[in-house]
Assembly symmetry: C2
Homo-oligomer: 224 residues x 2
């Protein structure tokens, strides 16, 4: 008994700690499914009351910020996880699979409009973007990536995959993987007459950014 309590696994403290995770998981599940979900849905899913949430987070916005941050961090982790892969092309493909499997894109992008970012968050986002850019660079170097693909295309790809939904969570993942496979196949360079350049100006750095520029120009806010 004293063993358990000293490790924080039982008693009031341990229970609270377990709730920390239950709530975080529930929040992730709920908001990935529906970015506009009410906070009570999170409480319900976690099997706790509202006050258990407010004990941990200053408010809904704070909660979403944390969630977004954890998503961005996960993205960075996945980028690092494929760093050791010697083949740049394979690294990119594996990275995309991992991110899709982690279902992290909705957190980092869909949620982003619902709160004002902290400087810290901007920095983490920048780090994540840099990781992606590096992967694209390596993939280009491998010679197997279409020459006209840019780092920002990754955002389009992830967005497209995240949009796939079916009633069942597991099936959703299968379908996303299938869709991703199609996309990765599309990313591959093809020599010969079959190759047609991707149309339109490529997405520009910053164009698809989660939040409007730091401060100053009152650009298009754009979302409703």
């Amino acid at each position: 008994m004293s063993d358990e309590s000293s490790r924080g696994l039982s008693g009031r403290r341990g229970h609270a700690k377990r709730n920390d995770e239950a709530i975080l998981t529930a929040a992730r599940d709920v908001f990935v499914h529906d970015p506009g979900a009410p906070i009570s849905a999170v409480a319900g899913r976690a099997g706790v009351g509202i006050s258990a949430l407010y004990r941990r987070y200053a408010g809904k916005e704070d909660m979403l910020r944390q969630l977004c941050r954890s998503g961005l961090q996960r993205m960075i982790v996945e980028a690092e996880a494929v760093e050791a892969e010697p083949d740049g092309w394979v690294a990119l493909a594996r990275f995309l699979e991992r991110v899709v499997d982690a279902d992290v894109h909705a957190l980092t992008t869909r949620l982003a409009g619902a709160f004002t970012p902290t400087p810290e968050l901007r920095e983490i986002a920048a780090r994540a973007d840099r990781g992606v850019a590096l992967l694209i660079e390596r993939a280009h170097a491998s010679g197997r990536l279409r020459a006209d693909v840019v780092a920002e295309d990754v955002a389009l790809i992830l967005e497209g995959c995240a949009a796939i939904r079916s009633g069942d969570g597991f099936r959703t993942m299968q379908l996303r993987r299938r869709h991703l496979a199609l996309l990765v196949h599309g990313l591959a360079r093809v020599e010969g007459p079959g190759d047609v350049a991707l149309p339109g100006p490529a997405p520009q750095p910053g164009e698809l950014h989660r939040w409007p520029a730091e401060s100053g120009s009152p650009e298009q806010g754009a979302d409703g």
Copy 2:
């Protein structure tokens, strides 16, 4: 003056007829952008009052139904528009481009959860699905489509494209076209060792359907 009025282009009647279109267009624009938008947003965008909407539609649900129907019909029109194209592969690609350009997928799918379908609507949807199936069949016959692609993959592709968004409407279309090009490239058969089969069970007919089966089995409703 009598000329115009006889053609319904001026006067109270003509104005009303023009409002018909303005409202329909506004509704399309608004709900494509945000399926959960309030009806007042449509009125605002159309430059009319709320009552102008309620004169034409029984309620919001009715409006969404009409919108969905027009979207499905547009889909059928686009399928017919490429029927004459002799090359089945080209026909499929052109069809996808047309549907993406018409920005019709959000209407036919995203909106579908917001109202109960009429039998008529189900039938139109079935006709649209048949059109797509035919295009896939022809594309297979041309020999240029990956063998493991099925008709239901089209839904995934359109969903993925519809998910792409930027602040500007025109730019959004450019980016969708770019993404689509990647996808179409991915759809192309590649002979040789580079070819990897699409993973997971292919999407089944009915699996991605807009509405739960006609009646009877209380399956997963699934959406929030």
